[in-house]
Subunit: 218 residues, 2 copies
DNA sequence: AAAAAGATTTAGGCATACCTAAATTAGCGA
DNA sequence: TCGCTAATTTAGGTATGCCTAAATCTTTTT
C-alpha cells in the first residue's frame, strides 16, 4: 500500500463507495488527477482486491478496501485531535498536517494515540472517529442553510477544506455552539446568525458546509 | 525532497559527511541499496545542491544538505521523546516509528512538538537533539568496552538499532544509570556489570554500542 | 434514432528510484 | 611498475504513478 493508493481509497470512501458505485470523474476531481491516471490506478486497486471495478461502470470498495479506508480516516481524525488539543493547531492546520501523518501511521501508533487521547468520539471538525472495530456512528444532521429563519439548532460539524476552515474559524464558528438564523439574504445571499449570543454574518455557500442538529419538524 | 533522498542525506550525515568525504560503499551498506543506485542518487543530490560529489572520490554535505539532515534528525529525536514519554513506546518501537514520522513532519510540527515536549535536549537513547538553529551539543563519551575492570562511569547513550535496543532494554540498561565493570571475559567475552547496584551480564559486542562518560585518566 | 456531449479507456511518454551485469577506475602489494 | 582486488560507474531494464492526445463508449438531447 502506498500513499497514492491510500488517497484513492479515501476518496472512494468519501464519495460513498461503501454503498454506491463511484464514477471516475468524481475521483479525478477530488484528487486533482487526470481521468486517464484514475483508470490506471483503479485497475491496480482492483487487482489488489481493494475495490470492485468494472470498466465504464464505476468502483466500489471491497470489505478489505473499506477496512483500509476507515483505518486511514481514523488515523487522520485522531491526529487532528492531538494537533489541536496538545499542539495548539488551528482547524485548517490540523487538517493539513493530519493529511500527511495518516499515511505513515502504523496500527500500533493509531492504537496508542487513541488511548493517549482517551478514545475521542469526534474530531475537532465534528466528524465521528471510526472505532478500532470499524464502527462509525452518525447523528442525523442537516446543513445550516436549510434552517428556517428564527429556527435554532446547534453546530455539530463543518466540512474539512482549508479555505472554509480558516474563514469559519475567523468568524468564531465552533463545534457545539448554539445557532439561530436571524436573517437570510435573498438569492442565496449572506445569512445573519445568532451564534452563542453573538451576531455574525456568513456566506450562503459556507452555510452549506456547516452541519447542525436536525430540528423537529412535523 | 523525497523520503528516499532524505534517507541518503541522513546516511551521509551519520557517516561523517559534515567533515569528511563519505564513500559510496558505506552509503550502500547503510541503506541496503545497490552501489549503482547510490551513484545515481548522488548525482541527483549534487544537481540539487545538497552534496558535494566527485566521481570516485566521495560525497560531503553542502551547508544546505547539512541543514536538511539536521532537521530530519531533530524531527526523529523529538518524535522519539513523544512516543516514549507519552505513548508508552519501547526503545526500539520509538526508533522504528520515528523513522517513518520524520519524513512527513513539516517545520511547524517540529516546532510545536518541541514546545509541547518542553525543548528536550536528548532523545530517549541519549543522543543530543539538534536545536532549531542547527546547533548540536556533544559530550565527551567513550564506549563501555573501553572501561577498565573496576572503573565506574555513567551510561549516556546507546546506538539506535532495533535488535540491540530490545536486547539492552530487556537487560534493564537505562540512560543515566551508573555502571562499573565487575569482570571482563577474555577474548571479547561477555562483561559482568554492576548496573545501578544490580549484577548484569552483557555481550562484548553490545558493550561497544553503549557510550559512557569519559573517565578521568592521567 | 441520430448526433452531440460527456465520461472513460487506450496509447505513448516522462520522472523517480530501484535492480543486475558489464566496464572502468583506484589503490595496494609483489 | 604491473597486476590484482575492491570500489565505482555505465548501460540497460523494471515498476510506480503521473501526463497528454486520441479513440471509444455512454448518456443526453434533439
Amino acid at each position: 500500500m502506498t500513499p497514492n493508493k491510500e488517497d484513492y481509497l479515501k476518496a472512494i470512501y468519501k464519495l460513498g463507495g461503501m454503498e454506491t458505485l463511484v464514477n471516475n470523474k468524481q475521483i479525478a476531481d477530488t484528487l486533482q488527477i487526470a481521468p486517464a491516471s484514475v483508470t490506471e490506478m483503479l485497475g491496480k486497486l482492483k487487482r489488489e482486491g481493494l475495490i470492485h471495478y468494472e470498466a465504464y461502470k464505476g468502483s466500489r470498495l471491497t470489505s478489505e478496501g473499506i477496512g483500509a479506508a476507515i483505518s486511514l480516516v481514523r488515523g487522520h481524525r485522531l491526529w487532528e485531535v492531538f494537533l489541536m488539543r496538545h499542539l495548539g493547531y488551528s482547524w485548517s492546520e490540523a487538517h493539513e498536517d493530519a493529511e500527511l501523518l495518516e499515511h505513515i501511521t502504523p496500527p500500533r501508533l493509531i492504537a496508542r494515540l487513541d488511548q493517549f487521547l482517551n478514545h475521542p468520539a469526534y474530531c475537532p471538525h465534528g466528524s465521528a472517529i471510526p472505532r478500532s472495530d470499524g464502527q462509525v456512528d452518525c447523528m442525523p444532521l442537516q446543513p445550516l442553510n436549510l434552517l428556517f429563519v428564527g429556527e435554532a439548532s446547534r453546530i455539530r460539524r463543518v466540512t474539512e477544506e482549508k479555505g472554509l476552515l480558516d474563514y469559519l474559524q475567523g468568524l468564531g464558528v465552533t463545534i457545539g455552539a448554539s445557532v439561530r438564523i436571524v436573517e437570510a439574504g435573498a438569492h442565496e445571499g449572506p445569512l445573519t446568525l445568532d451564534l452563542d449570543g453573538k451576531r455574525v454574518q456568513i456566506s450562503y455557500k459556507a452555510a452549506c458546509q456547516i452541519y447542525v442538529d436536525e430540528t423537529a419538524r412535523l
